[in-house]
């Protein structure tokens, strides 16, 4: 595995898109902190960027990269390498470089400008988002042979988590506004990695006071040390489930 990983990492690090992504994140974050008059608002702006671009770039870049790695995969499978090893190396390489890009781009200004707690939560959740959406992209890429279709699927996945899911939650709020569904909805929102990360970060900023009763419920569930641990376990599940599904599928795939 280290042998393959080395070449994958080398290849990705040379990739212009990853470099551009890092620079873009850095530009956005630095200017967000530069333009906003207090760090908390800067962090909010960065949060917006992170929640939007990190999943999008992660899912798209990974999908395209996996399709473009077909040759690489074909080359390797004729040699004595376990298929699972190839897939895992590819995933590890991609996740690591996406996380690295995020940490370099957005992480440095976050650490410099925000308090350690907020910075830590944002770094961790941003990294999780990168890896989660890489895992989803692996699933999308292995499910469809056609590259265009695969990219379409991954954009749909992103659209669903970034947009449609929240719409659905909002719809439920209105449908069941006469019932005490707060707890249910809090649980529901934990089902979207983007929402979960967003709320985790918001709870660490002083705007959390605006989130009222529901925010308080969320805080009791996910704000404590146990809750935080649970949230991170949920995020881990978001990595594990799509990736292991994709792995199972890849092992049985005809090349």
């Amino acid at each position: 595995m280290p042998g393959i990983l080395k070449y994958i990492a080398l290849d990705i690090l040379k990739n212009k898109i990853v470099i551009a992504y890092t620079i873009m994140l850095a530009l956005f974050s630095w200017s967000a902190f530069g333009l906003e008059d207090n760090a908390s608002k800067g962090a909010l702006t960065v949060l917006n960027i992170v929640l939007l671009t990190v999943p999008l770039v992660s899912v798209l870049f990974t999908t395209i990269y996996v399709y473009n790695s077909n040759e690489f995969i074909e080359l390797l499978v004729s040699h004595p390498v376990k298929r699972s090893m190839i897939w895992k190396s590819l995933f590890a390489g991609l996740s690591a470089s996406l996380v690295l890009a995020y940490l370099l781009g957005a992480g440095i200004p976050l650490v410099l400008f925000t308090d350690p707690g907020t910075a830590a939560v944002m770094l961790i959740s941003g990294s999780f988002l990168s890896v989660i959406f890489a895992a989803l992209a692996f699933l999308a890429a292995v499910l469809t042979r056609d590259k265009a279709k695969g990219i379409g699927v991954s954009i749909m996945l992103w659209l669903y988590f970034a947009l449609l899911f929240d719409g659905l939650v909002l719809f439920l709020f209105f449908q069941f506004s006469d019932y005490p569904v707060e707890k249910l909805v809090v649980m529901l929102s934990a089902l979207s990695p983007i929402d979960l990360s967003r709320i985790l970060v918001l709870l660490h900023l002083d705007v959390s006071a605006m989130m009222g009763y529901t925010g308080a419920i969320f805080k009791t569930y996910f704000g404590s040390a146990w809750g935080l641990l649970m949230s991170f376990c949920l995020l881990l599940l978001w990595i594990w489930i799509p990736f292991s599904l994709s792995l199972r599928k890849f092992i049985k795939k005809d090349l």
Binding site: G3, D11, E71, F72, S78, H79, V81, D254
Partner: protein, 240 residues
Amino acid sequence: MITIRHISKSFGKLKALNNISLQLDPGECIALIGPNGCGKTTLIKSILAMVLPDEGSIFFDGKDIRNDNLYRARIGYMPQIGRYPENMTIGQVIDMVAGIRSSSALPDMELYEEFGISRLLDKRMRTLSGGTTQKVSATLAFMFRPQVLILDEPTAGLDPLAAGILKDKIIKSGQEGCLTLITSHLLSELEDLITQLIFMQDGSLVLHKDVEELKNLTGQDTVAKSVLQLLKSGEIGVEL
């Protein structure tokens, strides 16, 4: 050495392999021929476990290849169209494959030197011509002294000189006891290499015979002519 038992494979409605059984022995050099889309490549990929058959099983030295990957250390494979990671250089590809194989045996550098690969080590794969890519594929296939060689259209795209070098190398490996499986459209090219012939059609095995036996049977002096004769006599349903 390789035993194939009743394997079938479909891609959707297309039956790529239809209940094929074969016994391939060491030292043989076998030509795998048949019209386009007859399942040659699928068969090869099945042996390499790149394609997983729907039914049947393949044994390598008596061991089922399913859930095994180490047997591939003993196979050298040269694909029809070598596809490599575009951003890697030839040197990196060779290094990487060597790293994966981690073979203790001294690598076979004959083709490497004869094709002059050392001069090209820093070239990226995407910049290579089709012929050079084939040279790299061939070099990699032979480098780790495999006991089984699987060559898919090896000479396609190679210049005559390189094709000659490769042919000599194939003969030499055969003499060293290597089982060689070649697919090619040009039977005449394989004339002096092969010891056995497999003919496939529509995913089914039509013919698997020793070359000598075949020549005796048809009364022709070359393999190409023998096959033609068979085609004419209607034993094989389509024209090549």
